[in-house]
């Protein structure tokens, strides 16, 4: 009965510890975010207007989706440098498809849009597959594999677009995306939520998700345990690119045009958002919540600085300082 005793105490202990860790773990960053927003709010009351908070939500939704995608490659000790240019490529390609179909059969714009979206996702999957196979089968380092893919996407994007933004995308797309609301939630945010929920489900409830974590945590061990590590790796990168493609389509809808340069700055941001939130670059760790927090943090920071009218170049400096201190404070909880 001593064993029983231990068992019970341990169980209760565990319950407390878990819940504690969960809450605390999720807590510090949000606190920082809260603190910052108060500061901004005091300096510029307009910060708290519904409109602006709405802006922050919409703006962050894109980054969050990107971060979630990036997280899949990070969990398996990877990296995806190609997301930025992949966005450009998907954006241009899908836009071209839509524009073409819309011009050939102007009576069915929705069909055109649907096909365009489909094409975009397909391209995403293809790119992910290539990345995955290069990394898993040819054993090219993720950094190089995705760097190569970066160049390829960039080239294709600017070639097929001839360097110009793709206009005459059926404007039902942008309209539907920017003005519709589901239960009062703007569509971009709704999409982001959907992506997050699905991603969280995959990571926590499916065998694939479990294998992702195990492979990321110790590849050799997972092979020894009979996990098809290579396939899991490919899966991770496909998922990453697929989600990135979704983000690309969201952005295309937001801009209402195919943009050959759109992706440029987004690669670093996606990784930053994930890592600030708490995803580990060493693999094996990472939750959707981390990405959400990171995404909101970055977006709110730049939005806030715009609202209180911090000068352009200073914004970069402030951003740097805040990011470092933020992550530092966040890491404190781990000690």
């Amino acid at each position: 009965m001593m064993r029983e005793l231990i068992l019970n105490t341990q169980l209760s202990q565990r319950f407390n510890r878990e819940t504690l860790a969960r809450t605390v773990g999720a807590c510090i960053m949000p606190l920082i975010i809260l603190g910052l927003s108060v500061v901004f709010g005091v300096l510029e009351p307009r910060f708290f207007t519904g409109q602006n908070l709405g802006n922050i939500l919409v703006q962050s939704s894109f980054l969050i989706v990107l971060a979630v995608g990036q997280m899949f490659s990070l969990i398996v000790r990877g990296f995806d440098l190609s997301v930025g240019q992949l966005i450009s490529m998907v954006s241009v390609a899908s836009a071209l498809v839509m524009a073409h179909l819309a011009s050939t059969m102007p009576e069915a714009p929705f069909l055109a849009v649907a096909v365009g979206l489909g094409a975009g996702l397909a391209i995403g999957v293809a790119a992910g597959l290539i990345n995955g196979l290069n990394i898993a089968v040819l054993e090219v380092h993720p950094f190089v594999a995705t760097l190569g893919m970066l160049g390829i996407c960039q080239g294709i994007a600017s070639t097929i677009s001839g360097g110009f933004p793709v206009f005459d995308v059926p404007d039902v797309l942008a309209r539907a995306f920017l003005h519709n609301r589901i239960f009062g939630i703007p569509l971009p945010v709704a999409t982001a939520i959907l992506v997050c929920v699905v991603a969280a489900f995959v990571l926590n409830r499916t065998v694939f998700g479990r294998m992702l974590y195990l492979v990321g945590s110790n590849p050799r061990a997972s092979v020894t345990a009979g996990i098809p590590a290579k396939r899991v790796l490919v899966g991770a990168f496909v998922t990453c690119s697929l989600i990135t493609a979704i983000a690309a389509l969201m952005l295309t809808a937001r801009t209402g045009s195919g943009e050959p340069l759109m992706g440029g700055g987004l690669m670093l941001q996606s990784i930053a958002a994930a890592v600030i939130g708490g995803v580990s670059l060493r693999g094996g760790e990472g939750r959707v919540l981390h990405c959400v927090i990171g995404g909101i943090f970055i977006t709110m920071l730049s939005n806030g600085m715009n609202m209180v009218r911090v000068e352009g170049y200073f914004q970069m400096i402030v951003l740097g300082v805040v990011v470092i201190t933020g992550v530092f404070l966040d890491r404190l909880r781990k000690r």
């Binding site: 360097g163 933004p165 793709v166 209402g256 009218r309 352009g312």
Partner: protein, 328 residues
């Protein structure tokens, strides 16, 4: 406040074709308007000049001005967010220097419908519904540069390598198109279009390789950054007196280069004036006075002959001007 910058010779395209005008700003406005401006970036002398123009004009007309820079042509998403931030800040008028017209079309339309005054500044806006706009089309500038080159070589054949700028940024391609249109049917042969970011190290490498890849190149034509670094490269390759350099837009370096003869020619279109007029158009609209719907400054080809007598205060910020992000 220094000497008045007007009258300024320009073209009024409101009617759809060019009407030469002498632009003059409105008299002092009735109230302190809230203006907001978005830029692709403020990292080269061209946008700094626009910035200088906007800032000094805002000061002169006692307007409040907030300025956001997206940090580069790759950050369209950022610019859209900044546009939204302008609206959130409750600006009366927004001066947009678009990264991509198509990209901002929705935001612009929405804002105009909500009664915000939108003025397109610097970068071309063709379709989007704006209150007014002032820009020179890069295609036209490329064309002007092309004509200059044509004059330079007359009937002689010439081998040209073109450096239009970053691929994917619409303006690079347009300028290239303009150049081609100008040299159409002449003896001028375009060997290659070498696209690349407008960083100096990048352009330098492009030029170096181009000089190796092609023999007896007569002309290097393209962005100002290229022209600046090309001087060194050409000199090193020992081609100083066979290969000439022309850029299709100008910065301080270009003007100096034309003066000391290292650069054969460039094109300017008074970015300072563009900035000033942008602000003025906005305030006119807010004040409800009549105003032009579309103004184009006339791009001017600059060579050793005329470099002496162009008004640089309309082309460049005063020396020592710091890019400014707000005017209260």
């Amino acid at each position: 406040q220094d000497a008045p910058w007007w009258p300024f010779t320009a073209e009024d395209w409101t009617s759809g074709e060019a009407v030469p005008i002498e632009y003059e700003p409105t008299e002092t406005p009735t109230k302190k308007w809230k203006l907001c401006a978005v830029y692709p970036h403020i990292k080269d002398s061209w946008w700094i000049a626009v910035n200088y123009g906007q800032v000094s004009e805002a000061q002169r007309q006692g307007a409040e001005l907030t300025i956001f820079e997206a940090g580069g042509y790759t950050n369209l998403n950022q610019q859209i967010s900044q546009f939204d931030d302008c609206v959130a800040l409750g600006a009366d008028a927004i001066l947009v220097s678009v990264i991509s017209e198509a990209g901002l079309a929705n935001q612009i339309e929405e804002a105009t419908n909500n009664g915000t005054v939108i003025v397109g500044v610097g970068n071309p806006i063709f379709e989007a519904k704006v209150t007014s706009k002032i820009f020179t089309d890069q295609e036209l500038m490329g064309f002007t540069g092309g004509q200059l080159v044509r004059e330079m070589f007359g009937e002689d054949p010439a081998r040209v390598v073109q450096f239009p700028g970053p691929q994917g940024a619409g303006w690079a391609e347009s300028s290239a198109a303009g150049f081609r249109r100008a040299v159409e049917g002449s003896e001028i042969e375009i060997l290659e279009d070498k696209y690349g970011d407008t960083g100096k190290s990048v352009q330098l490498r492009l030029v170096e390789d181009a000089l190796q890849a092609h023999d007896d190149v007569d002309l290097l034509y393209g962005v100002a950054v290229m022209a600046e670094v090309a001087v060194t490269a050409v000199d090193e390759a020992g081609l100083a007196d066979d290969t000439q350099i022309v850029s299709w837009y100008s910065n301080q370096g270009m003007i100096d280069g034309v003066k000391n003869g290292t650069i054969s020619g460039t094109v300017t279109q008074y970015p300072v004036a563009i900035g000033r007029i942008g602000v003025d158009l906005a305030i006119r609209a807010l004040e409800g006075r009549e105003h032009a719907k579309e103004v184009h400054p006339v791009p001017l080809a600059v060579t050793a002959e005329n470099v002496g007598d162009i008004d640089l205060t309309r082309a460049f910020a005063v020396p020592g001007f710091q890019p400014t992000f707000k005017v209260d």
